[in-house]
């Protein structure tokens, strides 16, 4: 169940996701849509921490990578069923986030950014150097995803699997934010001192947002690994962490649909710009800068405000 005001947004998402395949002419477009969906799952989670609770993390690609490698290693090396590997990976990532988050989340602002950045870098170095387990820089092949003997193959099937996971993730995120927990997270962003005095245990709620966002990143990482059938340390690195935070900020902080739109746009945009060849990155950067200058609150909140003003 959902709160009434959230049902409309969720229904719109379901409609878009259901109709989208009609506009996907070939496997390449399906591939972009799937990657956008996977990024969106990470960003909806990351937005709980960055957008709502106001705590930065520059290390979430580390959690994404740990989920991916947990799935790859548990299924490939130990022959675990993929679903069990995904679940175990999620639990491991959550536990690690809980252990790291406790000391790290006592830091604020730039210091928190530095600490999470360091955490992400450590994860990517460990994955790149422990080559006996992880395959090192060469990466690892990942077996196809199977549930109860039925295997997930082909872009179309994956599209529906990612779409369903995304819808469930968005529904849970909306529910969380429409609860006293969501209010507590936002109040920490507004004034941590006042939140504490009102009985909000800020350390506990920051940790909660950190762990939930890490688990979602881990699950998305597992799915990405099985989908592409191959993983390399590239997706675990610092640059991917920055990409994820950029998606959240670009789409609109403290907006679940903003994070979703940010992930979709910034995944699709570089693909759309490939025809510009050597100017691709230039235009991409200019679009990012322009959006942040003219829509500092991000795409979705700024457009929503514009629409409300237009109606009034």
């Amino acid at each position: 169940m959902c709160a009434r005001r959230d049902l409309l947004g969720l229904a719109a998402l379901v409609a878009v996701v259901a109709v989208l395949p009609l506009f996907l002419p070939n496997r390449y477009f399906y591939d972009v849509a799937i990657l956008a969906g996977i990024n969106a799952i990470v960003c909806v989670g990351l937005n709980l921490l960055v957008g709502y609770a106001g705590q930065i993390s520059l290390g979430h690609a580390g959690f994404f990578g740990l989920g991916a490698y947990a799935s790859a290693i548990l299924t490939g090396r130990y022959g675990w069923p993929p679903l069990a590997a995904l679940g175990t990976g999620a639990v491991l990532v959550g536990a690690l986030a809980a252990v790291i988050g406790r000391p790290v989340l006592r830091l604020k602002g730039h210091y928190l950014a530095m600490a999470t950045l360091g955490m992400g870098i450590i994860v990517s170095i460990v994955i790149a150097t422990e080559d006996r387990v992880t395959g090192g820089p060469d990466g690892l092949a990942v077996v196809p995803f199977q549930v109860f003997g039925w295997s997930l193959k082909g872009e179309e099937t994956w599209y529906w699997a990612v779409a369903a996971t995304l819808v469930v993730t968005v529904a849970l995120a909306l529910n969380l934010m429409a609860s006293p927990i969501g209010r507590a997270l936002r109040s920490i962003h507004g004034s941590e001192i006042a939140a504490e005095v009102m009985g909000v245990d800020a350390a506990r709620y920051k940790l909660l947002a950190f762990v939930v966002s890490a688990v979602l990143a881990g699950v998305a990482g597992s799915m990405a690994a099985h989908y592409s059938g191959f993983i390399t340390p590239g997706k675990v690195g610092f640059f991917h962490s920055i990409e994820l935070v950029t998606m959240v900020i670009f789409g609109g902080m403290a907006s679940t649909f903003g994070a979703l739109v940010g992930a979709a746009v910034l995944t699709a945009l570089p693909q759309a710009l490939t025809s510009l060849r050597e100017y691709e990155l230039l235009v991409f950067g200019a679009l990012l800068m322009g959006t942040m200058i003219f829509m500092p609150r991000g795409l979705v909140p700024s457009l929503a405000a514009l629409w409300r003003r237009g109606r009034a």
């Binding site: 006293p180 004034s191 005095v197 009985g199």
Partner: protein, 262 residues
């Protein structure tokens, strides 16, 4: 019954004593005020009592329980709430939700209830919103029920903090300069509001520079000067206390100024 008991409390910053050996007791009921010149240690005392600072020495007891050094979030659960001299509003949220955060300690904060909207979450949330609306009306903010906090004027935000503090259903409410920056008409409204809160059974501890307000609402006045408790009595007793007059007007000129005023 003694609601708040402060015993030989000291708090120093870098060797400088902001609060020094302060002891007093606040019985349940009525309005009690703490006054004193700027820098007397009033806000430091508030911050120690509400757990934002740890005391260097001494103890704080709330309704007989030792709460010295307890986390602020734990104190809300025990019926202590406050407002801030420098506003601490959740500017990223609507006014109504600011007040609803105040009810945090009475909410269902289990993760499963939130994620799956179990155990009547929707109904509870609507009830919480109704209660917040009622509190906003009670403090005279009926016109701002649908407003964003960031769009409200200063005087209204002062009341919003009071409504938010009341939402936690406190036994003891600490108000840190609720009338600061308000015009005389607004100050009178705050005075009436403080009376009304006290009548509803909440014990109020007030720090305020507006002497007219303090003398009008307080059953008892404590005077702090340079971190020490200088006087403790009814408004009239304190007003007539020569040490208090000296603290406010300065030692050397006290006699002269009193003479001029007389």
């Amino acid at each position: 019954m003694t609601l708040l008991s402060v015993r030989e409390l000291s708090r120093s910053f870098f060797g400088l004593d902001a609060v020094q050996d302060v002891s007093f007791e606040i019985p349940a009921g009525a309005v009690h005020s703490i006054i004193g010149p700027n820098g007397a240690g009033k806000t430091t005392l508030f911050n120690v009592v509400t757990g934002l600072y740890r005391p260097t020495r001494g103890q704080v007891h709330l309704a007989g329980e030792d709460i010295t050094g307890a986390e602020p979030s734990a104190l809300a659960r025990r019926g202590l709430s406050r407002t801030f001299q420098n506003l601490q509003i959740f500017f990223n949220m609507p006014a109504l939700e600011n007040v609803m955060v105040g009810a945090h300690v009475h909410s269902d904060c289990r993760l499963a209830s939130a994620l799956f909207r179990l155990r009547g979450m929707g109904r509870r949330e609507r009830a919480a919103a109704d209660e917040a609306r009622r509190l906003m009306e009670q403090v005279g903010l009926g016109a701002y029920v649908g407003a964003e906090a960031s769009a409200m004027p200063y005087g209204a935000l002062k009341r919003l903090e009071i409504a938010r503090a009341l939402a936690s259903r406190p036994r003891l409410l600490l108000l840190d300069e609720p009338a600061a920056g308000l015009n005389p008409a607004e100050a009178v409204e705050i005075e009436n509001l403080i009376r009304q809160i006290a009548r509803s059974g909440v014990t109020v501890l007030l720090v305020e520079h507006n002497m007219r307000l303090v003398m009008a609402v307080s059953e008892r006045v404590l005077v702090l000067d340079r971190g020490r408790l200088l006087a403790d009595g009814t408004a009239d007793e304190v007003r007539a206390n020569p040490a208090v007059v000296r603290a406010y007007l300065g030692t050397r000129n006290a006699g002269k100024k009193m003479a001029v005023h007389a």
